[in-house]
Every structure is written in C-alpha cells, then in structure tokens.
C-alpha cells in the first residue's frame, strides 16, 4: 500500500471518528433529556429487566469460565507478578486520567497524572513499578464518565454491560475508551494475548471484590448496582463527597416518620 493512498483514506476516516465522538457526547447528554428527576448521583435503573438479564448472563459466564480461570491464575502466579502486570496497564491508562483531569479543569491533578506516567514509564521500568505513588504522586482516577458528571450530567441510568460489568449510560463510553487505551497508545503491540493477560489479571484482582459481594449480598444485582452508583459519586467528588447529603439518612427517617403520621390518622 502506498503512503499517498493511506492519507487519502485517513481523512474521511478521521472525519467520521469526530462525528461519532460528537454523536456520542450528544447522546450521553440527551440520554437524560427525557428527564431523570431525583437526587444527584442517585440510583436510576429504568431498564432493570434488561440489566438483570445482562447480569444473569454475565454471572453465568463469570462463574463457569472467568472465575475458575482467574483462581487458577492466582494460584500459579506470585503476587509481585500480578501487581507488576496491573501496574503496566494502569500506567498506560493513566494518560486517560490525566486528559480527563484537564477536561474537568483540575490542572494540579492532571499534571500529577502526567508526571506519574513519565516517572513510572522511566524509573518504574515501563510501568512495572509504581514508583510515583511511593513518592506521593497519587493516581487521579479520572475518566470520561466523571468528566460528564462534572460538566453537569449528575444523574444517569444504570447499564449493566454483558461480561464487562456495571456501568451507566453516562459512564460506558468512557469505560470503553479507558479499556481501549493501551491499544490506542501501543497500537498492534497491544496484541490479543496482551489484551487477554490484561483482562485476566484485572479479573483476578477483582476476585476480592466479587468474593465480598458473594458473602454479603442477598440480591447481588441490587448490591452491585447501588455500590456502583455510590462508588461513582465518591470518585466524582475525588474521594471527598459533601458529608451532609453524602449519606442522606434523613430520607430513611422521613420514611419511618411518614408511617408514623399515617398511623396517627
């Protein structure tokens, strides 16, 4: 293939990519145009039937294939290997965090994330060692979903993505970008095998979470969903949500009080 031919193809390609991105941002913001009313960062699940179906399918695949493989992987690999693998891919995804920090106007956080990538890619040997955290440069943990939330999309409907896990209409595009980040940066060097290692390692690291879910949840679907929304709020507020409305126990008591009032009638 000649070089000239390639650029000819690239131009409309790029244009369609931008169009797609524009449509995506529009779709994310309009997904709430119909209007979700209720508390900010609350739990919204209009498509519960659909999501529960996705959850059941995912859970079946998880239990019958992913979990046994992940447990086996945990058995045959030492912890430093898993930490190293997780660090390498997290380092690449840190770029995404830095960009979104910038989009949210958090210049300090954004530059810390960028510094992390530089430090960990060099001194940390291609990201294997997370040296940055040790010297106090803490991961910003930003993503596009949080950027949309900061821009005003504070309510979003739940979306359980088959196999991938819990998300929201607002968060899913960002999660896809984050997942795809190593491929964007490394190109074909991020082969299917590296992708599988990435995924398997991530599933193995998440076993702690799913085991905790299994030992605490009676309705694991609801448990996962509510934990997801709370976790997202925590991240949007950079780990420091306003104390008062953060855990709104007033509404708990109000409900009981309302019943009291009904009894009085």
């Amino acid at each position: 293939m000649s070089k000239g031919k390639r650029t000819d193809q690239a131009t409309p390609m790029h244009r369609s990519r931008w169009l797609l991105l524009g449509l995506l941002v529009g779709a994310v913001f309009c997904s709430g145009c119909a209007g979700l009313s209720g508390p900010e960062y609350g739990t919204y699940d209009d498509a519960e039937g659909f999501n529960r179906f996705n959850y059941r399918v995912t859970d079946w695949v998880d239990r019958n294939a992913l979990v046994p493989v992940a447990r086996g992987y945990n058995k045959i690999t030492p912890e430093f290997w898993r930490t190293g693998v997780s660090n390498v891919f997290a380092n690449l995804r840190n770029i995404d965090s830095s960009l979104n920090g910038l989009l949210q106007g958090k210049l300090g956080k954004s530059s810390i994330d960028l510094t992390r990538v530089v430090v960990n890619s060099t001194i940390g040997i291609a990201g294997i060692f997370d040296v940055a955290t040790k010297v106090g440069l803490v991961h910003g943990e930003e993503d596009l979903g949080q950027t949309f939330a900061v821009w005003g999309k504070t309510r979003s409907n739940y979306l359980f993505v088959p196999v991938a896990g819990p998300s929201a209409l607002r968060d899913a595009p960002g999660a896809l970008i984050k997942a795809w980040m190593p491929r964007i940066l490394l190109g074909s060097h991020y082969s299917i095998w590296l992708g599988l290692l990435d995924g398997l390692n991530a599933r193995a690291e998440a076993l702690v979470l799913t085991d905790a879910r299994d030992s605490s949840a009676l309705d694991p679907y609801v448990f996962t969903r509510d934990a997801y929304f709370q976790r997202r709020k925590f991240l949007v507020y950079d780990g420091d949500p306003p104390m008062d409305d953060f855990f709104d126990d007033e509404s708990f008591d109000d409900e009981v009080d309302e019943l009291d009032a009904e009894d009085d009638d």
Binding site: T43, E79, T83, T133, V138, H139, A212, S215, S216, A217, L218, D219, Y221, V222, F223, R225, D226, A227, Q230, R231, K233, F234, L235, G239, P241, M243, D244, F246, F247, D249, F252, D253, E255, V256, L259, D263
Partner: protein, 233 residues
Amino acid sequence: MMRLRGMILCFLLGCVMPLAHTLEPKSAAVEQAGLEAAAEHSVNAFHAALLSALRSDAPFATRLAILEPQVQAHFNLATIARLSLGTTWRGLNAAEQEQFRLALKDLISATYADRFADYSGQSFELVGVNPGRRGPVVRTQLVRQSGAPVRLDYHFRDGQIYNVVADGVSDLSLRRADYNSIVKQQGFAALLAHILDQYRALANSEPEERKAQTEELISKSAMEQKANGEARE
C-alpha cells in the same frame, strides 16, 4: 439611693448576662468535643480488636468470639436494624424486631471475622473527626502493604456506630437496598432465613479442621436466640 442601687444592679446584670450567654455555647462545644473524643475512642477500640483478631491467626470461631462483643458494644444495632429495613420495620412485632437485630449482630460480627483473616501488615490510621448532623464521623484509613489505602468512615449516632462507609460505599445504604429487594420479592421471613444462611456460609467457608469449632459456636448462638425469643413470648 434607689437609682444608684438600680444602676449597680443593671451594671451587675450587664456583666453577668453576656457571661451567661457565652456559657451555653461553650458547654455545647465541650459536649461536642466530648462526643467526638468518645467516638474516636470507640473506633480505636474496635480497630484494636480487628487487628488482634487479624494477628491471632486463630480459627474463625475464635476471631468471631473476639469481635462479637465489640460489635455489640460499639455498633448501634437497633438503628442499623431499623434503617436497613426501612418501611418494613414498622410492620414487625417486637419479637421479630429483636430477632432481626440479633441476626444482624451475628452477621456483622461474622463478616468482620471473615474479612479480617489474613494478617499482612495492615494498620489503621486516623484521618480526622468531623461533626456530623446526627453525631460525629470518625474518618480513618486502612493501610495495606500493597494497593491503595481504603478509606473507612464511621458514622455515629447516640454514641455508637450506625454506618461504615468504605471508599465512598455506605454499608447501611447497601444493606437497605439489598434487604428491601428481598423483602419485596419474598417477604421478611425469607430475608431472615437468608441472613442466617449467610452467617452459616461465612462460618463454613473456612478450612475443614476449623469447622467443628465454628459449628459448635453457631448452635450455641442459635440456642441463645431461641431462648431469647421464648423469653419474649
């Protein structure tokens, strides 16, 4: 003469009034500081128990025996039980409420005994104490050898913990969502049965040689519960 006396009286009153005024907020502030200190003390005691259970390398039953009295002492189980059931709570009779409260106490203790099983250099750090609307919030973090620290915020009401928020995820909110979903689908009796099952599952998830000890403890606890229920009737 009268005028002078009146003036002196007014003067004295004028001196005392602002004093009296400052007295009240001061005592409220002192009370608040006392509440916060007590809450912090309570969290420290609970953390010390968690660490001792963690370090003991003992079987589940022993860890549970260490933690159960601590949960009983430091957790506001009545509030947790009421708020986690929401509207359902009001429809229960006193015996059912007590049964649920006891089941929760066992489950919370067992969950901690299960989570704090393998010691690998964990420690707790105090981040700060905030005055909350209902009571102090003690903010701490669990520092681990590998991985980021986990933020643990203890929310107090009436001098006891009624909610623990781990990295932004509220235990009470999750419990409430989870339990209400079950009550809606299957009713309260099923919820209670599920909780007891869960408790057993936690106890049975440990290695074989430790099970016998645990089974004994569970049957003891079940008998106590039954005795409590009968005493109530």
